[in-house]
């Protein structure tokens, strides 16, 4: 398996997914995991391949970037072959290790599975970088099997990359059943809490939430908005909150640790993710598992797996209206919560692993 980000150094769904998946899979199959840094996972052989000039947490798109990617992929192939790693199937997550996956497929004749957590179209809010687009297109063409993390993702692959629908299986992200607990007391010093947690990037569209704040405050003052995460939009969002005269109701926390994240879910009444494009959005599941009511845009894939109030990503008015509705009608939040606790109980990572294994078998049979 060729991964990329990995806990504890994880920023998104891909890292969580890879970590949980290999831990559930290791009892069923033997796994060698390629990562760009050293890591220890019990029961799994980790093959660190240093990615020179590349940092999963700080990609800089300089002109040498693509050379670095190429070099990284060549190193993966060298390491895997050099160490005589045995495998029956090659599984790559997203585009970064795709070239290595394809080379290994050619050299060994083993089938290739690619999981798409997002595409370049999602990451760039519709302005894909050509080079990466080409790599993703190759991944779609060469893969013997594709895993999409939601139906939205599947449709995107068909739409943008003309993927063969029969190659794609949707396997949703999971949740750790022991983490499900909707019983915490919500609020912060008697105030209602609205939480945004994620990268402050255009794709995630946190600006919609900031713009909804004055509308919410017009009707309800007793509320605080917590913007957790960092990213290129931070200065702009901070300035916006000052310009809109709402800075006293907004807390920017910067990047948060896992413990801080847990705490924020615990105290929050509402979780907002107004992404322009979000094939899954694992934080929606995490928030829902802690009894937080998700208000998300219709373009968030997690909405296929949990109950959420859904708005168009640009509809600031409706976003504010829905936030207010959750505060005004406790019956609404409770209804969503109860549904989610019930639905999430069936969504374990063990299930994700079983489905992934089924996908492996399907691909192997077809070869």
């Amino acid at each position: 398996m060729i991964g990329w980000e990995f806990p504890p150094k994880s920023v998104g769904g891909l890292g969580t997914h890879t970590y949980e998946l290999v831990n559930e899979l290791k009892g069923l199959v033997s796994i060698s995991l390629v990562l760009p840094f050293k890591a220890r996972v019990e029961g799994i052989r980790v093959i660190p391949v240093p990615a020179r000039y590349l940092n999963p947490y700080k990609l800089s798109f300089s002109h040498s970037f693509i050379d670095s990617i190429r070099a990284y992929n060549e190193n993966i192939v060298k390491e895997v072959l050099g160490k005589r790693v045995k495998f029956d199937i090659i599984h790559v997550h997203d585009w970064i290790g795709v070239e290595a996956g394809i080379r290994l497929k050619r050299l060994t004749g083993r089938p290739l599975v690619v999981t798409f957590h997002a595409t370049e179209y999602d990451r760039t809010a519709g302005h894909p970088w050509e080079v990466i687009k080409e790599i993703e297109q190759r991944a779609v063409n060469e893969a013997d099997g594709i895993i999409a993390v939601s139906n939205l993702m599947k449709e995107e692959l068909i739409k943008y990359y003309h993927a063969d629908p029969s190659k794609i299986d949707v396997i949703y992200n999971g949740i750790n059943p022991t983490a499900i607990d909707g019983s915490s007391k919500k609020g912060l010093f008697g105030r209602k809490v609205v939480l945004y947690l994620g990268r402050l990037a255009i794709q995630k569209n946190p600006e919609s939430l900031i713009r909804a704040i004055p509308l919410v405050l017009e009707k309800e003052k007793n509320v605080v908005f917590i913007i957790a995460g960092s990213g290129e939009l931070l200065p702009r969002l901070a300035k916006l909150s000052v310009d809109l005269g709402v800075k006293d109701h907004v807390i920017f926390t910067g990047r948060v640790t896992d413990q801080e994240k847990e705490f924020l879910y615990k105290i929050s009444d509402v979780f907002v993710l107004p992404s322009v494009s979000e094939p899954f959005g694992i934080t929606v599941l995490e928030a829902a598992s802690k009894g937080v009511v998700p208000i998300i845009s219709k373009t968030v894939g997690a909405g296929e797996q949990v109950d959420a109030l859904e708005v168009d990503f640009w509809d600031v008015n409706k976003l504010a209206e829905y936030i207010l509705a959750v505060m005004k009608y406790p019956v609404l939040g409770n209804h969503v919560k109860e549904n989610n606790i019930r639905r999430l109980t069936g969504l374990s990572w063990a299930r994700v692993a079983r489905r992934t294994l089924k996908k492996y078998k399907k691909v192997l049979r077809w070869k």
């Binding site: 859904e310 207010l324 509705a325 409770n334 209804h335």
Partner: protein
């Protein structure tokens, strides 16, 4: 064998998008209800569009067929809600005209019910129910020159308490769903009586009704295509005193489009009935010809809706129960606001809040102009709160 063919004719006044930020200076009629497709939740579902489409596909062509039959002495039965008549005056007067011509033949029976197609029969205090039944009576008199003696409650919702009230209001009989949980071992083809009273109960034959209502155009159905001859045969061979067929009127041309042959089916059905010696009668005529066979005890409300045939369609989840409670407890003083309150009582508004899964859920979403039950809840509550504010409480 005798058969009563009953048609359910209803349209709600659907709401428009009303947010907590909406302009509250508009008069409530304009602020809450979608009066033109421009401000509707979804243009396809605007009151005007829906009514005009149904008028063209069903109300005019289907009623023309019934009118021709009625002119030759065939009997039919209609339940027409007050909100339908108001919609017709506004969006499709020709639909009302032709139905009035059917009434003129005197070969049709009109059933009593609540004017607003509401759930007032389930309120703690039944005075609102009484008033809406009275309003509906007045409407029938005014538009169809008819005095009803047989009752049907909204979506055939019935329990012992409703039966008692309907009897107190002077009705001779009520039509209820012929559900197994009501009938037990009894057949839906006999007349019964309310437990401890004199109100007669006619039971809808749901299987034979659904053969037309749901299955008629389903090509995967083993009996497809359903011909008038075959259908008359089934009824002729059904044991009992009568068969009561009760369907949504829009079944004829709208839910099943004309190319399914549904209108041809209705054209030929009375002749086929005649050939098989089946008499087409009104419910009032049927109750005069037979004695009740037994009493029916219905402690919990039943209806004709969904697989469960109870009131869970409108009150099945916590959002619906909350909205219903708030709606019921809103006391409105002025007549103008009372009318608005009553328009909000139309059961369709609570139907849209249902989040049932499976086939029922699919049907609910099909009829809903909202994105989701949550969206429907928030919009409805915004309006209810605004009405409360206008009323000053």
């Amino acid at each position: 064998m005798e058969v009563a063919m009953c048609f359910h004719v209803h349209q709600p006044f659907r709401l428009r998008r009303f947010s907590i930020f909406s302009d509250t200076k508009l008069p409530p009629e304009r602020a809450y209800f979608d009066n033109d497709p421009e401000n509707s939740l979804r243009p396809m579902y605007s009151n005007k569009t829906v009514f005009q489409r149904a008028t063209k596909d069903c109300y005019v062509p289907a009623t023309q067929i019934i009118l021709d039959h009625a002119n030759t002495g065939r009997k039919f039965c209609y339940s027409v809600t007050g909100t339908w008549v108001e919609s017709a005056m506004r969006f499709g007067p020709e639909a009302l005209d032709i139905l009035q011509s059917v009434a003129d033949t005197k070969n049709v029976e009109f059933l009593g019910e609540t004017y607003y197609h509401s759930l007032a029969g389930l309120y703690d205090d039944l005075s609102e129910f009484d008033e809406q039944v009275e309003m509906h009576k007045n409407m029938l008199k005014e538009f169809f020159d008819y005095r009803p003696s047989v009752f049907r409650n909204t979506e055939l919702i019935y329990d012992n308490r409703i039966g008692t009230e309907v009897e107190r209001l002077g009705f001779k009989a009520q039509i209820i769903e012929g559900a197994e949980k009501v009938l037990g071992w009894r057949a839906p083809t006999y007349i019964y009586k309310r437990i401890g009273g004199n109100l007669l109960l006619l039971t809808r034959h749901y299987r034979l009704s659904d053969d037309i209502g749901f299955r008629f155009s389903n090509r995967a159905w083993s009996e497809w295509p359903l011909t008038a001859e075959k259908y008359a045969d089934w009824i002729a061979n059904t044991p009992g005193d009568y068969v009561l067929i009760y369907i949504d009127y829009e079944t004829l041309g709208e839910h099943h489009k004309p190319d399914t042959g549904i209108l041809e089916f209705m054209k030929h059905l009375p002749d086929e009935f005649e050939k098989k010696g089946i008499k087409m009668l009104t419910p009032s005529e049927i109750i005069k010809r037979h004695e009740p066979k037994d009493e029916l005890d219905v402690p919990f409300a039943v209806s004709w809706a969904d697989e469960s045939r109870d009131v869970s369609t409108w009150l099945g989840n916590s959002l619906q129960q909350y909205a219903f409670k708030r709606l019921q407890s809103l006391r409105v003083d002025s007549n103008r606001l009372k009318r608005i309150w009553r328009l909000l009582q139309t059961s369709d508004h609570l139907y849209y809040l249902s989040d049932k899964a499976g086939m029922d859920g699919f049907v609910h979403q099909y009829f809903s102009p909202y994105d989701s039950p949550y969206d429907a809840f928030i919009n409805f509550m915004n309006i209810l709160d605004d009405l409360k504010r206008r009323n000053g409480n």
